[in-house]
């Protein structure tokens, strides 16, 4: 069986989703590491962003793969969703009590996260790369109208990241099943690490708009 045939089978598509999803989760941890410099101070955060900029070409390659991963994850997800819709027949009394919310709404939460990513790229990413006009990166994030200077941006950010966490609650567990980790001796470790990714890392992201968008203005 060719690699194409492998990747177009339902199990193959899910393996692709699992690998791209887990890679993006790892990137998220790296992204949060950078964001937390905001709490250290303006100089530290600006310095970190400058350092990333200096990597230049390497960053562009990484970005290319990130976007490729996001789109292949979404593409496989949509194809599976369509296949599943076709396989289903409406049943009036069908009970969903054995399906968790995170699993039921994974496609929905994924779609919201995608919309969030699109706005994230068109605001923060675009500004940081092409539209700084001598402003400090720290200022753009904490004070400007594309950043947490706008309560609407802060609220949308908090909701989107919370939904991302919910998406990952199902997604990471699902990836463990798809990659065959469930039922092996690594299952427990995997589940413990999964909790970091679906709970603690999103919480870390949320702490930034909560602090810079709201608390810092009140205190």
């Amino acid at each position: 069986m060719s690699i194409i045939k492998l990747l177009t089978s339902s199990v193959g598509r899910k393996i692709l989703m699992a690998i791209t999803g887990l890679s993006l989760s790892l990137f998220m941890a790296f992204h949060l590491f950078g964001n937390l410099f905001l709490f250290v101070g303006e100089a530290a955060f600006n310095g970190y962003v400058e350092k990333l900029h200096k990597l230049g070409f390497l960053i562009r390659i990484a970005e290319f793969f990130l976007v490729l991963f996001v789109f292949s994850h979404a593409y496989s997800g949509i194809l599976l969703w369509l296949k599943n819709r076709k396989a289903k027949k409406i049943i009036s009394s069908y009970s969903k009590e054995n399906t968790s919310g995170a699993a039921k709404y994974a496609a929905f939460t994924g779609s919201i996260v995608f919309i969030f990513l699109a706005t994230h790229w068109s605001t923060f990413w675009y500004k940081f790369n092409f539209d700084m006009r001598g402003m400090s990166y720290y200022y753009v994030v904490t004070e400007s109208s594309v950043g947490f200077g706008s309560p609407l941006v802060s609220i949308f950010y908090i909701i989107a990241i919370a939904l991302l966490g919910y998406h990952l609650k199902h997604g990471i567990a699902s990836a463990g099943q798809t990659l065959g980790i469930v039922g092996t001796k690594y299952e427990k470790t995997y589940n413990n690490i999964a909790a970091i990714f679906w709970f603690w890392i999103p919480l870390g992201f949320i702490s930034i708009p909560v602090w810079f968008g709201f608390l810092v203005r009140v205190i």
Binding site: K88, K104, Q177, V182
Partner: protein, 245 residues
């Protein structure tokens, strides 16, 4: 006890169906659910009406013939129980009970509560067997199998192929069924030889038959009358990945 039934009636897959109401009175709570349907059918035949079609065979919970949705759940409310092993005492007097067939595009309705599950047979014929010549009957311990593997394989082989997993799944996926078959053979030395082709072919047939893809919700295992676990699906995935490496 008295019960109010609502049953899906459909003459064939090409015709539209609908729910019809029936009332049964003075039902002994200790009869089985299928016996209750027998009583209904005797009544319908006496009234010169078309009896309700439903599948059944052994009525001992081991053949996998019976099964339909009772109040939205495959095989009804009782855990790890096929519909033939369900008794009327699981319900209350004057309960409303809604019966519908196991629905999926891959399971066309034959009539009423009876659906065509031959898609499962076709998944099995694409690899759910051992074709290598294993020769005459050997001395039992000449092929060593660990106790753990034997137990696991036995649990996987307990699948009766009733289709409850497909009916329970929001995607009408046949992953649990396919995974149970792949697992039970993958765990034993006799099945190992053809392991790679087996998993690839069975997954391909499962896709062709029009079942949905698994989204790992676990609803199948929760409703499975034989309690086939999610680890089977993980094992199928492992086998699938292994077949490529």
């Amino acid at each position: 006890m008295n019960i109010n039934l609502k049953i899906w009636r459909q003459k064939s897959d090409h015709q539209d169906g609908g729910l019809r109401s029936y009332r049964l009175e003075n039902i002994d709570p200790n009869i089985s659910f299928l016996e209750m349907l027998d009583i209904l059918n005797i009544k319908l035949v006496k009234e010169k009406k078309d009896p309700v079609a439903f599948d059944h065979d052994c009525r001992e919970g081991i053949c996998g013939s019976c099964g339909f949705m009772i109040n939205g759940r495959p095989h009804g409310p009782q855990k790890a129980t096929t519909v033939c092993q369900l008794h009327m005492r699981a319900f209350n007097n004057e309960d409303n009970i809604l019966l519908e067939p196991f629905r999926a595009e891959a399971f066309p309705v034959i009539k009423d509560l009876s659906v065509d599950r031959k898609a499962f047979d076709r998944i099995i014929s694409s690899g759910g067997y051992v074709a290598v010549d294993t020769g005459d009957v050997l001395e039992a311990n000449s092929i060593p199998v660990t106790k753990e593997d034997a137990d696991e394989a036995f649990l996987s082989s307990a699948c009766i192929g009733c289709g409850a997993c497909v009916a329970a799944c929001k995607n009408s996926s046949a992953m649990l069924f396919t995974a149970a078959k792949v697992s039970h053979l993958a765990l034993l030395p006799q099945g190992e030889k053809e392991g790679k082709e087996r998993v690839v072919n069975m997954v391909a047939t499962m896709d062709e038959e029009g079942f949905g893809a698994c989204t790992n919700t676990g609803a199948c295992s929760a409703e499975c009358p034989k309690e086939i676990g999610q680890t089977n699906i993980a094992r199928l995935n492992r086998e699938f990945i292994k077949s490529k490496i």
